[in-house]
Symmetry: C2
Subunit: 258 residues, 2 copies
């Protein structure tokens, strides 16, 4: 990064171009960099690392208050990153920030999250990338989250991240003075106790709607979901390698040839 | 598992209910267990761990040659697992097998794959789960892959897997006698050199279609993509924890509080 030049920052999310958290994040990043916003045209929560293979994508410019704000892509968060890098940005960005998501992306939600996946796609493409999520769907106040995001972005632009690694940050929906602190965490084991609600439509045919609550299965501040429930900001380094390395030796002894 | 009872096996995929690899896998599993097939109504390649949040899901029974074959779910591979466990199966299965996918799910593709995600969702829900992929899209011959899947399923039913861990198996599209062997691998670093092809529609408006080739970045039989290119079956244990554990100490020294 040229020290004399403001860093180029790509801002994306999974809640779509109209997401309040996206606008808060973009406004915050504009204080430290040259920002381009590229977001899904429609909400894409829970889309994980999905990409669009079977249909073409469209890019449109998007205005807010009659002024250009950014671009929409007719696909997933990961599509947004791919298309932004290949066809929207003129040069490789110094940083990708994704969010600020409505709802936490801790523990098992890390796997379902489009917000996290957009950042991970950035890392795969060799770009320093961060994901930000606020712990609520309702009465969201992005003020502190956007401020923390800017502070972390500055730090990461200075210090860098290891290859194929992002930081996923979960932030309590609280005013700054009520934040307990910032902790480095690992992806927790908390997961959904879930069910699909069964109802009948007006013709008497059943339909199913996924539903559930995230059950806390972690008991220390080293784990993301526990930490945010204790009002801490949780910063989790995530990588792209899903190999269970500790099981490789055992598996080698299974004698799979026979 | 009751030793006197055949294991209950749930078969899923991401290519959809009509996928040839699904039918080959189901037929093979019927030789060792009580099989229920639950698959997406339509193809869902590249859907990763996406789940359907905004719309309800439908379950339909599906016939093949005028005989009941299984169920379709109007959603993603992960939706199939969730709905199968909550509303289709009467008891928890002993095993989930996903595939056999058209096309390999090695290296970075591990993150994009719906086939792998279906198995991972099984592991999250505490069920021993396996994913199978054939290394080709064209002229697929699932004969050896289906046989190997059955052999591995029997072994896994005996030995079990660690919590939150699946085996993702990539199998060359070759007759058995041309298979070089079976190796235990880790997720490789190979990734797409990609671009989105830009074309104009009949109105002169541009559209973008994701495209690319998987560039080999691994050089040993310990890595999945390299191994399958050398005609080996690659068996990779994958976990659900994406934490970059080796970076935690460094990150703790960043002093994120200030």
């Amino acid at each position: 990064m040229n020290e004399l030049k403001k860093p180029i920052i790509l801002v994306c999310n999974d809640d779509g171009i109209e997401g309040e958290g996206l606008h808060a994040l973009a406004a915050s990043m504009k204080k430290i960099g040259q920002v381009t916003v590229v977001a899904p045209a429609d909400p894409h929560s829970g889309m994980s690392h999905a990409m669009t293979l079977g249909v073409p994508l469209r890019i449109k410019s998007y205005q807010k208050n009659n002024r250009f704000f950014g671009y929409t892509v007719s696909g997933t968060p990961v599509d947004c990153i791919k298309v932004a890098l290949s066809h929207i940005l003129n040069e490789k960005p110094d940083l990708i920030v994704s969010g600020i998501n409505y709802g936490s992306n801790t523990a098992t939600n890390t796997l379902y999250s489009g917000t996290v996946a957009a950042a991970r796609e950035g890392a795969i493409q060799g770009i320093t990338s961060l994901a930000f999520s606020l712990t609520t769907y309702d009465n969201a106040d992005f003020t502190y989250a956007a401020k923390f995001a800017r502070k972390l972005a500055k730090k990461v632009l200075q210090l860098g991240l290891p290859p194929d690694t992002i930081l996923s940050v979960n932030i309590p929906n609280l005013p700054e003075k009520e934040i307990a602190g910032v902790v480095v965490t690992q992806q927790g084991s908390s997961r959904w106790e879930e069910d699909a609600i069964e109802r009948n439509d007006m013709y008497g045919n059943p339909y199913y709607w996924l539903n559930g609550t995230l059950k806390l299965l972690d008991g220390s501040l080293n784990h993301d979901e526990y930490a945010v429930r204790q009002n801490y900001v949780a910063v989790t380094p995530l990588c792209c390698d899903m190999t269970n390395h500790t099981f490789l030796d055992t598996l080698n002894r299974w004698n799979l040839q026979t």
